[in-house]
């Protein structure tokens, strides 16, 4: 089972995308840039936070030393502050004459500590709020940019990438980047500032003890490097296993009908069990690295406490420092080690964010070969003349489907394209509808080279209906708006009437607003086709391109469709990949395509007379349609 998925994640096969980590940081920074003001504010709050956090152990130090020495005259140990403090204490003492003085002094100390904690809370709250919002807004922008880019990317990209894969770019990978902008980096800025503030204070207090703490943080960074080495490949594998699981789940949902019809549920469950288990194993391998490394990093914090106690204890005995200082040190040690351990783990945390950023950036930098060119002029209204001039087209490099292809179609002409599967009929449609780029030559509408005009303005006048056209689940209205987003209610009903769908739609429980289920599942294939025709009517293009669906439609619906088709093609140039006799019969000109060339060309009568390829194609078609006649 797993062998099938070796190709599932092409990006792991190709290794990385060749971006340096620095480029990825810059890329992510670009999205945070519009929020510079907020970022500055957040950093200010962080500074406050770090400051308050590094001050609070000093208060505890004071408390211990003061109470141990029973010297309650110097509450803070700084003369100016003590003056203020003492005056406050004496003022309040007057109000409660029976309470001992120590209560007030201790109370004052606690009050200051409390205020400090409040400030810590407030600055932390503000900082998180700002960063959280900036993170959300910037990744929202990123998601939107990605989506927009995906809309512009031509079909050669979409053909190669399954829906599930593209979706994981826009959801999972962007969320990973959010973790980065909104989480990891910011947390680490705070950590960095805290470390600096703490280092400043402890070096002020006692250099010897400070050096002990600093030295013992070094192994933490070394462990961090080791962790990175082990965890990177394991995390990638875990991600890969995970995407296999997602793909398997998606497929089993899509194929549920087949599964049920063939009583295959048990086997599917067994297969899923294996995939699920593989995922579990890969995941465990990845998280076990952390399980070893993280406690080991913290272990150095405990060792530091022990060493501090040893060295500091001796200093207390010799009278070099007070007991309060030692306690404060041990406290500072904890405050110092927490961010250090997290920073040591920084790279590991960043793995997912970087992988996400990498994929997102790579996608954003995938160039579309059929750009919108929004800055180009709008295509003026055309009469509907179409010419291919020496046009070369290939899906894969070096394997042209059409080479120096020439074709001229008069305004209003109806052209039917016929030929065997794989002959290249749909390719002509793909070139014309600009779903794929052509490599050489010119495509002219009237006398306008299509490449020199903005793509949306071209599509205003050239509308294509792919064979596997897709109806959206939203409702009928949204699908009609595919044709013209500004169509009025009245126009929609009119269009439905013209294609013979008005009665049916008006009978549906919510009329135009009736939801259609996935892929328009509530309508029959014939009805779906008619809805698309209505959308074309609303779009009112000069040139219509139609790739007929191969699904069988009953002869009555077909007649209905035929009628509507004649109507929608009236006064328009049209290209139709035809599968139905009636469609072919209606064409002004029939092109028989074989192997990237027009092998026969002419009206139905002319081509029949020729007794060539077209003739035998028709024979086959007739054979299909034939059965016992009425005269049996």
């Amino acid at each position: 089972m797993s062998a099938i998925h070796t190709d599932a994640e092409k990006e792991t096969k190709h290794g990385d995308f060749g971006y340096s980590d620095w480029e990825l940081y810059r890329f992510m920074y670009e999205y945070a840039k519009p929020y510079k003001k907020e970022m500055v504010l957040a950093i200010l709050y962080m500074l406050f936070y770090a400051l308050f956090t590094s001050l609070s152990p000093l208060l505890i130090l004071r408390a211990i030393d003061t109470f141990q020495a029973q010297d309650i005259q110097e509450v803070f140990g700084i003369p100016m502050l003590d003056d203020v403090a003492n005056s406050i204490v004496f003022q309040t003492m007057k109000l409660f004459p029976n309470v001992p003085i120590v209560w007030f002094q201790v109370g004052l100390l606690s009050l200051v500590y409390l205020v400090l904690q409040l400030l810590i809370f407030y600055s932390s709250y503000q900082q998180r709020l700002i960063i959280g919002r900036v993170g959300l807004q910037s990744t929202n922008q990123l998601r939107e940019d990605l989506f927009t880019h995906l809309q512009e990317l031509d079909m050669s990209y979409h053909d190669k990438n399954e829906v599930g894969r593209i979706m994981s770019r826009v959801t999972t990978d962007v969320s990973a980047v959010w973790e980065f902008i909104g989480g990891a980096v910011i947390q680490n800025v705070v950590n960095m500032i805290t470390i600096i503030a703490v280092l400043f204070v402890i070096f002020q207090l006692n250099v010897q003890l400070a050096i002990i703490s600093v030295l013992l943080t070094l192994p933490v960074f070394i462990l961090g490097r080791i962790a990175k080495y082990f965890s990177r490949p394991r995390r990638k594998e875990a991600r890969r296993r995970n995407s296999i699981l997602m793909a398997s789940l998606a497929e089993s949902i899509a194929g549920i009908k087949v599964t049920k019809g063939l009583n295959r549920e048990d086997v599917n469950i067994e297969i899923f069990e294996a995939i699920n288990n593989n995922r579990r194993i890969a995941q465990l391998k990845a998280v076990d690295v952390n399980a070893t490394m993280f406690p080991s990093m913290l272990y150095f914090s405990s060792i530091a406490v022990a060493v501090l106690f040893w060295v500091g204890g001796l200093q207390v005995i010799s009278g070099a420092i007070t007991l309060g200082t030692l306690v404060a040190y041990i406290n500072y040690n904890t405050i110092l080690f927490r961010p250090v351990v997290i920073l040591g783990n920084f790279y590991e945390q960043l793995q997912d964010a970087l992988t996400g950023a990498e994929r997102v950036k790579a996608l954003l930098e995938t160039d579309t070969k059929v750009p919108w060119n929004l800055s180009y002029p709008e295509l003026p209204a055309v009469r509907g003349e179409v010419s291919f001039k020496d046009l070369t087209f290939e899906y894969e490099k070096g394997r042209p489907v059409y080479k120096n292809f020439n074709l001229h179609v008069k305004p209003g002409e109806k052209v039917a394209l016929v030929g065997h599967t794989g002959a290249g009929k749909t390719t002509i449609i793909n070139i014309l509808s600009r779903l794929y780029p052509f490599q050489k030559g010119e495509l002219l509408l009237d006398d306008h080279n299509i490449l020199f005009y903005s793509l949306p303005s071209v599509r205003e006048q050239v509308v294509a209906v792919p064979q596997d056209f897709f109806l959206f689940s939203t409702n009928i209205r949204a699908n009609l708006q595919l044709g013209n987003p500004r169509a009025t209610e009245e126009e929609m009903w009119k269009a439905l009437e013209l294609v013979g769908m008005k009665d049916y739609v008006s009978k549906m429980e919510k009329g135009l607003d009736t939801p259609l289920q996935e892929r328009g599942g509530r309508l029959s294939i014939g009805q779906r086709q008619l809805i698309v025709f209505a959308a074309i009517l609303l779009a009112n293009p000069k040139i219509v391109i139609l790739d007929e669906a191969t699904s069988n439609i009953d002869v009555f619906t077909e007649m209905k469709i035929q009628e509507s088709m004649r109507y929608i093609l009236k006064n328009r140039t049209s290209f139709i990949v035809a599968h139905r006799l009636s469609t072919i019969r209606d064409a002004d000109r029939i092109l028989v395509i074989d192997n990237g060339k027009v092998v026969e060309e002419g009206t139905h009568e002319e081509l029949i007379a020729k007794q060539g390829k077209y003739y035998s194609l028709v024979q086959n078609q007739v054979k299909l349609a034939e059965m016992d006649t009425l005269h049996n």
């Binding site: 998601r143 809309q151 031509d154 063939l262 007991l323 793509l455 897709f470 006649t629």
Partner: protein
């Protein structure tokens, strides 16, 4: 809490690991509590008797507890990882099995996007709390209790004051999770909407581009993306408040200690060593305690996830097997529809209106009628993909509801319109319904379905992987593989639901020829719009607007006025249109030739009727 109720049975399965986790957390907390306490002891002893030896001893004791903490910490994480991954594995498995068991009605109302979001994202939300949330919670609690006990031993008053913080924290945790549940749900739900729009857009990207509607789609996406932003912003505020808020609450206990402890120390109620120890103890609590805020958030996400998961797990199946359902033995395969009415859950109109039909075993029936007349719906009732709204479907004279569902499906095979293939090898796709099939049987089925030759041209032959991620096949090739799949399963009643539409004419002719001769006595139902299919049947049923309007043999129906005759006339008209040209001698010859082709075909048909008689 919904989450605890949801997770309890899974924890039960992992109860040894759960016990180990709890024990290891307690060992860890014990070690962590003892570090400040040993500092206290050393400090107290030092004040009595300042000697360097005590400092060395203190160092060793701290080092010992530090090592204990490290070892238990590693063991704890190892066990915890396994515990958490196992539970996730079990939940995923349960969800998957549930999804496999749910009937098609569920799938007709939930989009793939939503089902995926529920079964993938929501299990992830549980990962955090299972992975470390619980560990942090218990560790904080254990440290708290450790601190409380040591405080109690020195000064019960101080201990009680210290403990007042517990109800405050619990209250805030409880209150916030209650008030914010809806906001979290909204945020997760809106994200699901984003995925839905994405899924649909990418699936229909070709249509969007063909109509040049990219910008409208961008606007649509912008809207759901914005809705998600708004919902998520509310959650950001909760997060920003809860995380530092919890830390603040814990530091309140430090303020209490500072105030009361300070007074006690200066008045000599407790010694300085104890005061130092309490300070360090509460600082120790802060380390895991700072995560209590995250924990509150995790709990809410977990609650939401549990709710969304339960919605799937508790989803009711509409196809219910009776407790006394019997195995269908397939001895009597007479198929009957008795006054069957049917409507889809969302529609108001009936798709089937009073169908009465009996098909004997071995009959070959063509089901024709305009699109939307209810043909596919009718056959979907046979394997109980749906149950009729009214009336009964009977096999062998007995309501199919009296049989086990699987035993019925074993006897019925439908080749669907959309020939869905799985990302499996061709071999496994053909053997999808019969995994024990031998290679010979698989090849035999492929030969019958006229796809064997094509498979052999593939570089990896039967091992070629097809499906979304595999080799791209044409519509006709996919259809033939789907046919081979059913032929291998070898059911007694076979339905072709417009399943040869993309197969080219010559191949179709061969396919039908072979199938009709090889199927022996099996019941065959063909839904098709191609008259060529009618050559192999001996009964024609015409449906229109949910009703059976005609039923009989071709030769009778063709003489009656009605839909069938109109159907044939319409086709005849089309053929005439194609072949009626007689301007030149040449063209006349053509026409004669085509007419002779038609005659041959008619002959074939007559033979089929002969055989039947």
């Amino acid at each position: 809490m919904r989450f605890f109720r949801f997770i309890a049975p899974y924890i039960k399965k992992e109860k040894w690991k759960f016990l180990a986790i709890n024990s290891l957390i307690i060992i860890s907390a014990y070690a962590q509590t003892n570090i400040p306490l040993s500092i206290r002891d050393s400090v107290s002893r030092y004040i009595e008797n300042p000697q360097p030896n005590l400092v060395y001893l203190g160092f060793l004791i701290i080092f010992f507890y530090g090592t204990l903490d490290w070892l238990s910490g590693m063991a704890l994480r190892f066990v915890n990882n396994r515990y958490s991954q196992n539970i996730q594995y079990e939940i995923r498995q349960d969800i998957f099995e549930k999804l496999q068991s749910l009937d098609l009605e569920y799938y007709s109302k939930e989009s793939i996007g939503q089902i995926m979001a529920r079964s993938i994202q929501e299990v992830y939300s549980l990962q955090e709390i299972l992975g470390w949330g619980y560990r942090i919670l218990l560790l904080t609690a254990a440290l708290f209790i450790g601190a409380f006990i040591s405080l109690w031993l020195s000064s019960p008053t101080l201990a009680l004051m210290f403990a007042t913080i517990v109800p405050i924290i619990l209250f805030v945790l409880f209150k916030s999770s209650k008030n914010n549940a809806e906001k979290f749900y909204q945020s997760q739900y809106q994200f699901g909407r984003v995925s839905e729009v994405l899924a649909e857009n990418f699936a229909g990207i070709k249509t969007v581009k063909s109509f040049g509607r990219e910008f409208e789609e961008i606007n649509r996406f912008r809207k759901v993306n914005h809705d998600f932003l708004n919902a998520a912003m509310k959650v950001v505020r909760i997060r920003a408040t809860l995380q530092p808020g919890m830390l603040f609450l814990i530091s309140l206990s430090l303020v209490v200690l500072l105030f009361v402890g300070g007074v006690f120390t200066s008045t000599g109620v407790i010694d300085t060593g104890s005061f130092v120890a309490f300070m360090l103890l509460s600082l120790q609590i802060m380390t895991p305690g700072r995560f209590l805020g995250d924990l509150a958030i995790q709990l809410q996400m977990a609650n939401t996830a549990a709710r969304r998961l339960e919605e799937v797990l508790n989803e009711k199946n509409h196809i219910i097997e009776k407790p006394d359902a019997q195995e269908f033995d397939g001895r009597d395969l007479t198929l009957e529809f008795e006054n069957v009415y049917f409507k889809y859950p969302l529609n108001k109109d009936y798709v089937l209106k009073g169908i009465n039909l009996k098909i004997d075993y071995g009959e070959r029936v063509a089901l024709i009628g305009p699109t939307g007349s209810g043909k596919s719906t009718l056959i979907n009732l046979i394997p109980r993909f749906f149950d009729p709204s009214e009336g009964r479907v009977k096999l062998g004279g007995k309501d199919i509801k009296d049989y086990k569902v699987k035993s019925i499906r074993r006897h019925v095979g439908i080749v669907h319109q959309d020939s869905f293939l799985f990302t499996l090898s061709i071999k496994d796709n053909i053997a999808f319904g019969n995994k024990d099939a031998s290679m010979d049987e698989i090849i035999e089925a492929a030969k019958m379905a006229q796809i064997h030759e094509f498979i052999q041209t593939l570089p990896e032959g039967y091992d070629t992987v097809v499906g979304e991620r595999g080799v791209t096949l044409s519509g006709g090739q996919r259809q033939r593989l789907a046919i081979a799949r059913i032929l291998l399963a070898n059911p007694e009643i076979i339905v072709f639901d417009d399943s040869v539409s993309a197969v080219d004419p010559e191949t179709e002719a061969r396919l039908q020829e072979i199938i009709s001769t090889r199927l022996g006595t099996k019941t065959l139902i063909i839904i098709s719009q191609r008259p060529s299919s009618l050559k192999f049947v001996n009964r024609v049923i015409v449906m229109d607007d949910g009703e059976i309007v005609q039923d009989g043999v071709h030769s009778e129906l063709v003489r009656q006025p009605g839909l069938y005759r109109e159907f044939l006339m319409a086709i005849e008209a089309q053929i005439d249109d194609m072949v009626s040209w007689d301007s030149t001698e040449e063209e006349k010859k053509d026409r004669q030739y085509l007419a002779s082709v038609l005659r041959d075909l008619k002959g074939g048909k007559n033979d089929a009727e002969e055989i039947r008689k």
